[in-house]
C-alpha cells in the first residue's frame, strides 16, 4: 500500500504546484473546465455503473446552477449558503422522482424515459419563468462589489483551478468510499437481479435511493461551480436532454466502471471540442457533435467498457496475482 499512497501524494502535489509553474490562462481555463466536468461525469457514473442510467442529470445540474444564481441575484444569499440549498433542492427532486421509480420497480427503458421527463421539466420551467431566469437568453450572476470570497467570484484562474482540483479529488474520494462500502455489493446484486437481491435481504428501494441522492447532490454542486466559474448560464448549457446525453457520452467513452474513466472521458471530449473549434473556426458548429455521436455509437458497439476500462482490463492478466496491490 505504501508506494501507491506515495504516488497519490506526489501526483496531488504536482497538480497543486502546476498553476504556479505554468500560468498560461487559456490552458488553465481548459483544465478548470475539464476538472469541473470530470466531477459531473464522475457523479453520473456513480449511478450509471450500477445500471441506473439516468437522463435526468441535466435537470440536477440546472437546479444546482440556477438556484445558486437566483438566490444570489434576487435575495443576495451568498453562494456559500446558496450552493448547499441548491444541492438540497436537487436531492429533493431526486427523491421525488426516484422514490416512486424504485418503489414500483421502474427499471431499464422506463427509468431512462422517466428521468428524461425530469430534465425536460427543468428545462421548460427555466424557459417559462423567463421573468426571473432570463429564459433561453441565459442568466448572469451579479458581479460582487464586496468580498470576492463571500460571493465565490474570483478573477484569478489559479484560484479556480485549485477549487476545481479539490472538488475533483473529492469526487474520486466519494467514488472510492462507495467502492469500498457494502452499498457497492448491494447495488451490484441489484443490477444483476433485483428480485434475488431483495430476497437476499437487500433493501432495494433504500439502496437505489441512497446512490441517486449522492449522485444528484454532486451533480448540483458541479452545476453551481460551473455557474460561478463561467459567470453565465443558459438553459441549454446546464440543463436539458442535450446536457444529460453529453454526460452519458463522456462517461461511457472514458469508461464507467473505473474511477478515472469519467475523467478520461472529460479530457477526450473537451480536448476534441477545443481542437475542432480551433481547427475549423466558426465552421466547427456541429462538427464536434458529429464526431461525438459517431464515436459514441462505435464505443457502445465495440468498446462498451470505455477506453480506460478496456485498457485496464487488457493489462490485468499480465500482472502476477501474488503481488500485493
Amino acid at each position: 500500500m505504501r508506494p501507491r499512497h506515495a504516488v497519490w501524494i506526489l501526483a496531488t502535489a504536482a497538480a497543486i504546484a502546476l498553476p504556479f509553474v505554468h500560468r498560461d490562462p487559456y490552458h488553465l481555463h481548459i483544465l478548470v473546465l475539464i476538472l469541473i466536468w470530470s466531477f459531473a461525469y464522475t457523479s453520473w457514473s456513480i449511478m450509471g455503473r450500477f445500471g441506473l442510467v439516468s437522463l435526468g442529470h441535466g435537470g440536477f445540474m440546472g437546479v444546482g446552477a440556477y438556484v445558486t444564481a437566483l438566490l444570489w441575484n434576487h435575495l443576495a444569499v451568498s453562494p456559500w449558503i446558496g450552493i448547499p440549498l441548491a444541492m438540497a433542492a436537487a436531492a429533493l427532486l431526486a427523491v421525488v422522482v426516484g422514490y416512486p421509480c424504485f418503489r414500483f420497480r421502474i427499471t431499464g427503458h422506463y427509468f431512462v424515459l422517466v428521468t428524461l421527463a425530469l430534465s425536460g421539466i427543468v428545462l421548460q420551467v427555466i424557459t417559462a419563468t423567463r421573468d426571473y431566469t432570463g429564459g433561453s437568453l441565459g442568466y448572469t450572476p451579479n458581479r460582487t462589489k464586496g468580498s470576492q470570497l463571500l460571493a465565490l467570484q474570483f478573477d484569478d484562474k489559479v484560484t479556480w483551478y485549485l477549487i476545481a482540483l479539490f472538488i475533483w479529488l473529492l469526487g474520486l474520494l466519494i467514488w472510492r468510499g462507495i467502492d469500498h462500502s457494502m452499498s457497492r455489493y448491494a447495488m451490484e446484486a441489484i443490477s444483476e437481479d433485483e428480485d434475488a437481491a431483495a430476497a437476499a435481504g437487500v433493501n432495494v428501494t433504500a439502496e437505489k435511493l441512497k446512490i441517486t441522492v449522492i449522485s444528484a447532490l454532486m451533480t448540483a454542486l458541479a452545476g453551481a461551480l460551473y455557474c460561478q466559474y463561467q459567470m453565465f448560464i443558459s438553459p441549454d448549457t446546464v440543463s436539458g436532454i442535450a446536457v444529460s446525453l453529453q454526460m452519458v457520452f463522456a462517461a461511457i467513452v472514458g469508461g464507467i466502471y473505473v474511477s478515472f474513466g469519467p475523467t478520461v472521458g472529460a479530457v477526450i471530449t473537451i480536448l476534441l471540442a477545443e481542437t475542432l473549434r480551433i481547427g475549423f473556426g466558426t465552421n466547427a458548429v456541429g462538427w464536434d457533435n458529429l464526431v461525438y455521436g459517431v464515436l459514441l455509437v462505435l464505443f457502445i458497439i465495440f468498446l462498451p467498457k470505455g477506453i480506460l476500462g478496456s485498457l485496464t482490463e487488457g493489462l490485468k492478466p499480465q500482472r502476477r496475482p501474488s503481488l500485493p496491490s
Binding site: G51, V53, V96, V97, P100, C101, F104, R105, I106, G108, H109, Y110, V112, L113, V114, L116, A117, L118, G120, I121, Q124, V125, T127, A128, G240, I241, A242, L245, V248, F249, I252, V285, G286, W287, D288, N289, L290, Y292, G293, V294, L295, L296, V297, I300, I301, P304
Partner: protein, 293 residues
Amino acid sequence: MQAFLDIFDIYLLEAVINGILLGGVLALLALGLNLIFGVIDVTWICYAELVMIGMYGMYFLVQVYGLPYWVAAPFTILLVAALGAALHLIVIAPLLTAPPINQLLATGGVLFVLQSFATVAFGVNFRNLGIRLPVLALGEMNFSYARLLSFGAALFGMVAVYLFMTRTFTGTAIRAISQDRQIMSLMGVDTRRIYLITSALGGALAGLAACLLVLQYDVHPFVGLTFGPITFLICVLGGLGNFIGGFIAAFIFAEIISLGGLFSDLEWGYVLAFAFFIVMMFIRPAGLLARRR
C-alpha cells in the same frame, strides 16, 4: 360578465379541438416508436431526429427541386423508411444481444450524429416550405387547414398500419414476434427479415409525420428536441409497446398542452404535461391500460 364567458367558451372549445388535431400527429409519432419497441424491444431515442431529416427532405424536394407537395411526400416517406432500415442494420443489429441500455444509448449517439449532420449540411437557419394553407373559419373559431390535413392523414396512416398488421401475413408475423420473441424463429419465421421490415415501417411512419409537421412548423437541426421528448412520454404513459394505450395517451397529452397553453404560455402547457406524466408514473407505473397488480 356573460359576454366574457361566451368568448371564453369559444376559446376553450377552439383549444380543445386544436388539442385533438395535435393529438392525431402525436399519436402517429407514438405509433411508430411503439411499433419498434413492441417488436424489436429497442427504444429509438433518435426517432424525432428521423422526422427532422424527413422534414429537410420535404424542404429540399419542394423548395429546391420544385416538386409538388404530393409528389415529394412519397419520396420523403421512402427516404426515411430507408433510413430506419439502415439504422437497424448498422446500429441495432450488432447490439441485439447487448444489454438494452446499450441499444438505447447507441441510438442516443445517432441523435447527436443526425442533429450535427443537419447542422453541418444545412446550417442552423430556420426553413419552411413556403406553403401557407388557408384558415378554416367555423363560427367564431379558426382552424388551420394544415392541422386538419395532418389529423386526417395521421388517422389514415394509423388505419393503414392497422390493416397491414391484421390482414397480411407479414403483419401477423410482426404481431406474433412481439408476443414471443424466441418461439417465432422456431416456427420458421425469419426474425431478421421481420425486424428489418418493422424498422422500415417505423421509419415510414416517421416520414409521414415529417410530411405533416413540415406544413405547420419551420425545420431546423434541433426541431426534434421540441417534440421528441413528448413522444417518448406518450409511449411510456400508454405503456411501451401498447398501441391503444399510446393512442389514448397522445390525445391526453395534446389536450394538456393545448389547454395549458390557453391559460398561460405554451411552455407551461409542456411543464404541466411533464408533471402529469411524473404523477401518473406514481399511480400507474406500467402504463395507462396496465392491470393493477
